[in-house]
Symmetry: C2
């Protein structure tokens, strides 16, 4: 059986040139994404927007330098999204978020129910079938924690009451969004929509999360304290990643989605004393693999389908819906004296999870290229309007923003979700960089 091994290093074999092609595509995607991300920050936009657009540019429908349909590239992009969700989980302190409490809860719930419901009804009203309409609604649900935190941080509003409420609500709708994703992707794979199947999948997703968190809380701190005693450099980070991959695979086997597992792994390891070491190792991998995910999602955009009247019409509607419904959610905690408009506007950007929905829909064939294009218009549009809108609402000039806009998407998130604890010593690489 070992003779089945693919030819490895022989220059002329087909499989090897496959690996070579992937290496070249990875080099192109990382370079394009990093440069695009940088250009985006130069005009006051989050880097993820530049990464998406860079991906569209190098994708098959324009330059043709990277093909997201390549199965090897697909694996690497999947690895990237697992790293991303693991990073988000690592940055999320569930217990301190619970303290923001009712305000965040109300924003989060309204911010899930309104977009999902209105998105679904708009879809069916426009003649979409049930599954594509569900995916359109679902893609509207999750605010991008990374983008919101980044823009609020640039404006110096991350630690305000409004900022903490937004992050609390964004974490909540990410969790709900991921559960919806698990349900819908099961439906998309199987085709059957029954109350029983929906209930089973939702129970699997919630159950996996609860069991993983409970078991993890019991086992992980002791386990990783033992691992950290292994005097072989890099062991803690490497085994934390192995843990995330194992939970991603486990979530899939339990009938949920791999990213739920990766997110759970992050939440669990957030509570270990080795969190900073793990974050540092994960960030280094994230700098390389996460842009590959965003750029490869961009590369899957068919520009001709994007400018198709159907895409533009539905995309425009989803965009308006996406902005209005999340903006309204900012007024949900009406009894709390706060700047509700600021909260609502900060809830608008979609990102990671919306893109994951779009990718899943396209991959399973539930979304046509036109529908995929419409969802992309919504994701890009909501991300695009947020920074100037928030700057205007908070009276910050673009120049102030540019001065702050030098950090990564997840920078500063730490301080907030861990309740203001200082972590200035946790990123030695951030200082030694440049």
């Amino acid at each position: 059986m070992i003779l089945d091994l693919l030819p490895a290093l022989g220059p002329d074999s087909g499989a090897t040139s496959g690996v070579t092609t992937v290496f070249m595509m990875l080099a192109v995607l990382v370079t394009a994404a990093r440069l695009g991300g940088w250009l985006a920050t130069r005009v006051g936009q989050p880097s993820v927007l530049g990464e998406l657009i860079a991906g569209i540019l190098v994708g098959p429908s324009l330059l043709g330098l990277a093909d997201p349909a390549n199965p090897y590239l697909h694996l690497i992009a999947e690895f990237g999204v697992v790293i991303l969700l693991f990073e988000i989980g690592l940055h999320t302190d569930l217990s301190s978020l619970l303290k923001v409490g009712p305000a965040a809860l109300s924003v989060g719930l309204v911010g899930v129910v309104l977009p999902f419901g209105l998105g679904y009804f708009t879809g069916t009203w426009l003649g979409l079938e049930t599954l594509p309409a569900l995916i359109c609604g679902a893609a509207l649900t999750a605010t991008s924690i990374g983008i919101s935190a980044r823009v609020l941080g640039d404006l110096g509003k991350l630690k305000s009451l409004e900022g903490r409420t937004v992050i609390g609500a964004a974490v909540l709708d990410d969790v709900v969004g991921l559960i919806i994703l698990a349900v819908i992707s099961t439906i998309a794979a199987g085709g059957l929509i029954t109350t029983a199947s929906v209930a089973t999948t939702a129970a699997a997703a919630v159950g996996f999360l609860v069991v993983a968190l409970l078991l993890g809380q019991l086992v992980a701190p002791k386990l990783f304290t033992a691992i950290a005693r292994i005097p072989l450099t890099g062991t803690t980070g490497a085994l934390a990643l192995a843990f995330a991959l194992a939970l991603a695979a486990g979530a899939q086997m339990a009938g949920s989605a791999p990213i739920i597992g990766a997110f759970a792994a992050g939440l669990i390891l957030h509570q270990t004393p080795q969190r900073e070491t793990i974050e540092e190792a994960t960030n280094m991998l994230g700098y390389f693999f996460v842009p590959i995910f965003f750029a490869s999602v961009g590369a899957a955009v068919d520009v001709q389908a994007l400018v198709h009247p159907d895409s533009l019409r539905l995309g425009g509607l989803l965009l308006v819906l996406g902005i209005l419904t999340k903006f309204v959610s900012g007024y949900a905690p009406f009894w709390v004296p706060m700047r509700h408009a600021l909260v609502g506007a900060a809830m608008v950007p979609r990102g990671e999870v919306g893109l994951i929905f779009a990718q899943m829909g396209l991959a399973t064939g539930a979304l046509s290229p036109q529908l995929f294009g419409a969802v992309m218009i919504m994701v890009i549009g909501t991300t695009f309007v947020t920074p100037p809108w928030l700057a205007w609402l908070s009276g910050t000039t673009r120049k102030d923003m540019l001065a702050n806009a030098i950090s990564d998407d997840l920078d500063g998130l730490d301080d907030l979700v861990s309740g203001g604890r200082s972590h200035t010593g946790s990123h030695p690489t951030r200082n030694s960089e440049h």
Copy 2:
């Protein structure tokens, strides 16, 4: 065409469970390799030995938890070996090695010609065909820089005249070994051995290396100084990796081997002011991906083929040859007053490049599982005998070694190959770990 995308996140699709399976195998391989590496250091052996043996253990012929024939896993292992060669290149200062000069040159040349020639003749004498005999000879040529540097470092001999000579010679025979690899893998893929084809491939390998180094020296320092000005965290490291992948793919396209390109990329970036940032980012990826390579080579070992009398006979012969020929090479600079026995013994361990030869031979079908097993016996055996032998030669006790044996394979190599320049500040992560 974008509808060709593999199903991404749907729980029940075949392609996705493919990705899930790979995630699980990666988790198993990394965990096993890290634990194996740690156990190896506990008994005074280099960690790579533990990673190999851990791979054998989880491989298809024993526990069956990881299958190196899986094409996705193969891609990740290839990525790991590219990172490894990039790391070795990054740690190699060609100009300061040239200063050790004639002594290292004579050790390196004798240490390539003797093992290659005797290995080839022994193979044909035992009835092997030309190609397998060539691979056996070639696998004997390259001393493992990582293992030699590690063991010498543990003994405190890395900066001695003997230590610098060994590293100089090991770099030289790595380069020669990689050129031999390019030639032999072309032959293995094509099947024809003519003077013209050998000359063409050797010229391609040398030519690629020379052109890449010259162009790189001109372009890379300015390019990476410009890149380092991009104020987006992680950009320098990510683009350096993209550079390594691009050169790996370029080397393959130029008719050479990907690892030649990755090694060249490392040599080029060694000379940039951003070297330490790049090393740090690469090390972090290396902690995860390099053990996957070694463990997956181990997993390709068929234990039944390993204990086959043919494997044991040829493996034993190759082992004796491998030890004797490299030991003799230590006496090549007879005119230099130094401890020749120490140099010779330190040249004995094979590792990375020997394993790459073995993998290539197995993958192209040029090596039967028995021959692959014989080469593995040689690699494991030479690595196994070196630490106690060197400790005995230098009068160091095992207890002294254990006290030092807490760092990674490549630790300390820096100081040496860059002529003793201090880099104590270059690995903040090394200190913050544990």
